[in-house]
């Protein structure tokens, strides 16, 4: 599956499940600070390579989350002793994740209900 979250407009009708990328990023960051590539890799690995992020939309998404105040970033030296930008979840981000996750669960349940009924 390929998630296209590259559009600036989250309500764009072309986007399947608007806001999904944001939620996945927030969820990933609950593990601790990570750089952009790390986030992408984590999502790929935990989904067993079934979810592949369009990387071009990852960085605008990270900016969007920062603007909302859900994520902050800072430059730090990574384990391979190279400077990289690390993203970290804020308290507001954690709250947002809870909201989005429960909304997502509800939607999944609803979709599942429809699919099983027919």
């Amino acid at each position: 599956m390929y998630i296209d979250m590259g559009r600036r407009d989250r309500d764009s009708p072309n986007a399947l499940l608007p806001g999904l990328l944001d939620m996945l990023v927030l969820q990933t960051l609950t593990l601790g600070p990570l750089h952009g590539y790390g986030i992408a890799r984590h999502i790929e690995q935990t989904s067993g390579d079934r979810l592949r992020i369009e990387e071009g939309s990852l960085y605008p998404a990270l900016q969007r989350l920062q603007l909302q105040g859900w994520v902050t970033s800072r430059w730090e030296t990574s384990s391979t002793s190279r400077r990289a930008r690390f993203y970290q979840l804020t308290r507001a981000g954690r709250q947002q994740l809870d909201t989005e996750a429960s909304a997502f669960d509800e939607m999944l349940a609803a979709v599942a209900g429809v699919m099983q009924a027919s």
């Binding site: 600036r8 750089h35 071009g56 960085y59 605008p60 900016q63 969007r64 920062q66």
Partner: protein
């Protein structure tokens, strides 16, 4: 809250926006590298891995743009570019830029300057703590209560009698009953006192205040302490608080002033404190220097000293009251409580014959008594309107220049649009240019406003040291100036944009040819703008013409006495040590001394100078005739020395004047004016009749011995004479200042020195002050009129110059455009005169409508300034005609200059240019 956080993060990012791209690029470079490395580790060929990684990330430029867009950085960068572009455009045409910025700066500066003054006089809150909690008490009644009231007027709209002062007894009741809801304080102005501080004499504006005054008002001390209730009880040590200003002047700002003794009208007081520097009392535009507690302080007022028991007299309503509401108490709540108490406390004797009682009404007190600054309000609003018009004309002018230029730049715009710029972007560049103009104009305006407002203050307070405005920049002035700049900038930017958006789709192929066609079609907005400028400047010049003429009328007014060759000066016998019976000795001595001064013809004295803007009036009774209506039983009152009428050359119509023989022992007499005779003795012979003057109480009747011709009394603006009764000052014990009038032969200025020297020798301790001629005195009185004429003329002139420049620009532009046409006409045999006529006729199509509209505007506007005019109708035809001629002349001259240039067009040159 959320939006604020977002805005904050956006701003922080914008500050380091230059890093943004670098950091993002670095991030993406690392991303690619890691992805490539991972692929190589997974066994992929290096080149292949690199390509795959790049494919996954996509176009890095697009990622960057998308990331920037999240923050609105793209928009910001465009704005930045546009602003730079706007400034660069201005920079490229320094002549244009200077003209535009200066025009705007003058307009904005003038408007902001007048606003600063209005702000200080009318709008600013008192410099006390929580001014919003203050309320001012007044009463409203359908009929006048039978009281002697300090401040009251009849409201023209409601017809109600409105008073601002109460009896002291009423105040005490109100203060007690309202205590749970508010603290109430009383104060009353008393006549200027003679003060001796640090062994030097001064005169000081003085207020007597109840003990809680400073606490209620919310003033703070600069030094020492302010008055407290325990200062205001019988037997308390006499304490006085001085203003910061007086402290600086009299004590040189010495902290040792606290505890020093000063004498006020001969009574000793101890200085206990200095009020805060900014505290001037409760009346913006005036200044109080001394604050005395009521109980001891009223004793220094000689008028009150003569009255019996001023505190308990229910008919003396002399105290103004101010209240500070306690937290949570609304004005309506407090008003209810106060009015109930007022109804109970009011003495029945003052309500005799009245069907309703007065009711308490509360006014917001945060700005003090600013609403009473009526004499400043009207001229200020007129000035503000005039300055605003100048700004409007300036905007129109700059707008016109911009329009003319944008026409010239049509090709450039066409080119840009053809190359793919959006209209919105091009429009924004125009707006940015307007904004740049607005900003620079606003800055220039701020520079202009300072000196301008200082000269305004000088003009406004000319010769009156009790007038004072703390004029300065505060947030309101800055906001006002910034608002003006923004509006001006927007208007300037929008005008070309409207043209741009309404013009047909511009194809560059057409844009390159620009000759032919009148300017009517090309400059849709330009012509009406010039016409509007002409109309506005005409309206302003008509107003200024009216002001100048009424000032002239005021100078030329018939006074009813001979003001030429008279010198006036004030003496203060009490301060000079001539109190009580010695006062008359002194005044007669001055008279004799002056007789010996070369150049002096004769001299006299009076309790106040004629036409000095002041008046004293009292109730008059005719024995055997009951007073039916207080309003109809009043006369102005003047106490005069011997030969008063002779020295001022007021003709005596019947009977005799007041002379030397009318001294303290002689029968009590009076001389009245014609208006007095008409009012109290219609159809009778007034000479020989007796009248009672109500003040001091129980004085014996005086006999009228003469009737004098009516003359102006308090002000030269009086239309009709009011009744006036003159009493010999030898028969009236007084203690305050006296005005000496000296008639001299020749130039009054020449006699000044001799008079001062002679009196200085004879009475070294006697201070003389305000030596002046009537002309100089009326100059002080006419300060407002002079201010209006000077400023409106200046504004009108600036507007006319701007309009002329605008017209010149428009016509010059038109001539350039029509060069080819003119060339053809000349080639076909048109004479120079015909060409000039052609251009002037074109200009007339702008000028004439402008003049017509201007006359209409002027006629509408003069209604507003009617009250400021004197001795002429607001639709004064000569003024209007003269100003129309001036404006028309200047306008046609402005058009004639380019017309002459058109006439010199060489036909061959013109055609070749085609």
């Amino acid at each position: 809250m959320k939006a604020i956080g977002k805005l904050w993060r956006r701003m922080m990012l914008a500050l380091r926006s230059s890093q943004f791209d670098r950091e993002l690029d670095e991030e993406m470079r690392q991303h690619l590298e890691w992805r490539t490395q991972d692929a190589i580790d997974a066994g992929m060929d290096e080149a292949e891995a690199r390509r795959a990684a790049a494919r996954r990330l996509g176009d890095t430029l697009r990622v960057r743009e998308a990331s920037r867009d999240v923050w609105g950085l793209t928009w910001l960068r465009d704005l930045d570019q546009d602003l730079r572009f706007g400034v660069r455009l201005l920079w490229r045409n320094p002549g244009f830029a200077a003209a535009a910025i200066l025009s705007l700066g003058l307009g904005i500066g003038a408007t902001a300057g007048v606003f600063m003054l209005a702000d200080a006089a009318l709008l600013r809150e008192l410099p006390v703590s929580h001014p919003g909690d203050l309320s001012i008490l007044e009463w409203r009644a359908e009929q006048w209560p039978k009281v002697s009231v300090w401040s009251a007027y009849r409201d023209a709209e409601s017809g109600l009698r409105v008073g601002g002062s109460f009896s002291f007894g009423t105040f005490q009741h109100l203060a007690v009953d309202a205590a749970p809801k508010a603290s109430v304080a009383a104060f009353a102005g008393i006549p200027k006192v003679s003060l001796v501080a640090a062994n030097q004499p001064w005169t000081a504006e003085t207020l007597v205040v109840s003990g809680g005054y400073f606490n209620t008002v919310g003033a703070r001390p600069a030094l020492g302490r302010l008055l407290v209730p325990s200062d205001d009880v019988p037997g308390a040590a006499p304490a006085v608080v001085v203003s910061h200003r007086l402290w600086q002047r009299a004590f040189g700002g010495d902290a040792g002033a606290i505890g020093q003794m000063v004498t006020v009208n001969g009574q000793s007081f101890t200085v206990v404190g200095v009020a805060e520097r900014s505290f001037f009392g409760l009346r913006p535009g005036t200044w109080v220097d001394l604050y005395l507690p009521v109980t001891v302080g009223l004793g220094v007022d000689p008028d009150i000293r003569r009255r019996r028991s001023p505190f308990t007299s229910p008919g003396l309503w002399w105290f103004e009251l101010v209240a500070r509401r306690r937290p949570g108490v609304t004005s309506a709540d407090l008003e209810k409580v106060l009015d109930r108490t007022f109804g109970q406390a009011i003495d029945p004797s003052v309500l005799q014959g009245l069907s309703t009682r007065p009711h308490v009404h509360l006014r917001p007190g945060g700005r003090g008594y600013a609403f009473l600054v009526r004499d400043a309000r009207k001229p200020l609003s007129v000035l503000l309107a005039l300055a605003g018009l100048v700004l409007l004309v300036a905007c129109a002018n700059v707008g016109n220049l911009l329009l003319a230029r944008s026409s010239a730049r049509r090709q450039e715009w066409a080119m840009r649009l053809a190359l793919g710029a959006t209209r919105a972007r091009v429009a924004r560049q125009h707006l940015a240019e307007g904004a740049a103009l607005g900003v620079f104009g606003g800055l220039t305006g701020l520079l202009v406003a300072g000196p301008f407002v200082r000269s305004l203050v000088l003009l406004f307070s000319a010769g009156r040291d009790d007038r004072w405005y703390d004029v300065g920049f505060d947030w309101r002035v800055l906001a006002f100036g910034a608002g003006l700049s923004v509006v001006a900038g927007l208007v300037l930017g929008v005008m070309p944009v409207i043209r741009l958006l309404t013009s047909a789709s511009p194809a560059p192929a057409h844009g390159f040819r620009s000759s032919g066609g009148g300017w009517r079609r090309r400059q849709g907005l330009s012509r009406p703008l010039v016409a509007v400028q002409i109309a506005l400047s005409l309206a302003m010049l008509v107003a200024s013409g009216l002001f100048v003429r009424s000032l002239h009328n005021l100078h030329a007014v018939r006074l009813g006495f001979n003001a030429e060759g008279v010198l006036l000066f004030d003496v203060d016998p009490v301060r000079g040590g001539y109190g009580g019976a010695r006062r008359l000795e002194l005044l007669n001595g001055i008279r004799r001394t002056l007789e010996g001064v070369p150049g002096v013809l004769n001299s006299t004295r009076s309790s106040m100078a004629l036409v000095d803007g002041r008046r004293a009036a009292d109730i008059i009774r005719i024995p055997g005739r009951p007073v039916t209506n207080v309003e109809d039983s009043v006369s102005d009152l003047l106490e005069v020395g011997p030969d008063f009428h002779a020295v001022l050359q007021v003709p005596i119509l019947t009977g005799r004047a007041i002379g030397e023989r009318d001294d303290a022992g002689a029968p009590l007499i009076a001389v009245v004016n014609e208006a007095f005779a008409r009012m109290y003795f219609p159809g009778e012979v007034p000479v020989g009749r007796q009248v009672l003057v109500d003040y001091p109480r129980d004085s014996p009747p005086v006999t009228i011995v003469g009737v004098a011709r009516d003359a102006k009394f308090a002000s030269i603006r009086e239309d009709t004479a009011d009744p006036l009764i003159c009493l010999p000052d030898a028969q009236r014990p007084r203690a305050t200042g006296t005005v000496i009038a000296v008639r001299v032969s020749g130039e009054p200025a020449a006699a000044r020195g001799a008079i001062v020297r002679a009196l200085g020798r004879a009475y070294p301790s006697l201070p003389l002050s305000r030596m002046r001629t009537f002309e100089e005195q009326s100059g002080e009185q006419l300060a407002t009129e002079r201010l209006l004429s000077v400023l409106s003329s200046a504004f009108g002139f600036v507007a006319l110059v701007l309009a002329a420049v605008g017209l010149y620009g428009a016509m010059a532009f038109s001539v350039t455009r029509r060069t080819a046409e003119i060339g053809i006409r000349t080639a076909l045999g048109a004479t120079r005169r015909e060409v000039v006529t052609l251009i002037l006729r074109d200009a007339a199509r702008v000028i004439v409508p402008g003049l017509v509209v201007g006359v209409g505007l002027a006629l509408a506007a003069v209604r507003v300034i009617r009250a400021q005019l004197f001795g002429l109708s607001p639709t004064d035809l000569p003024t209007i005609v003269a100003m129309v001629c001036v404006v028309a002349g200047v306008a046609f001259f402005a058009a004639y200059v380019p017309a002459r240039r058109a006439a010199r067009v060489d036909p061959t040159e013109a055609l070749r240019a085609e």
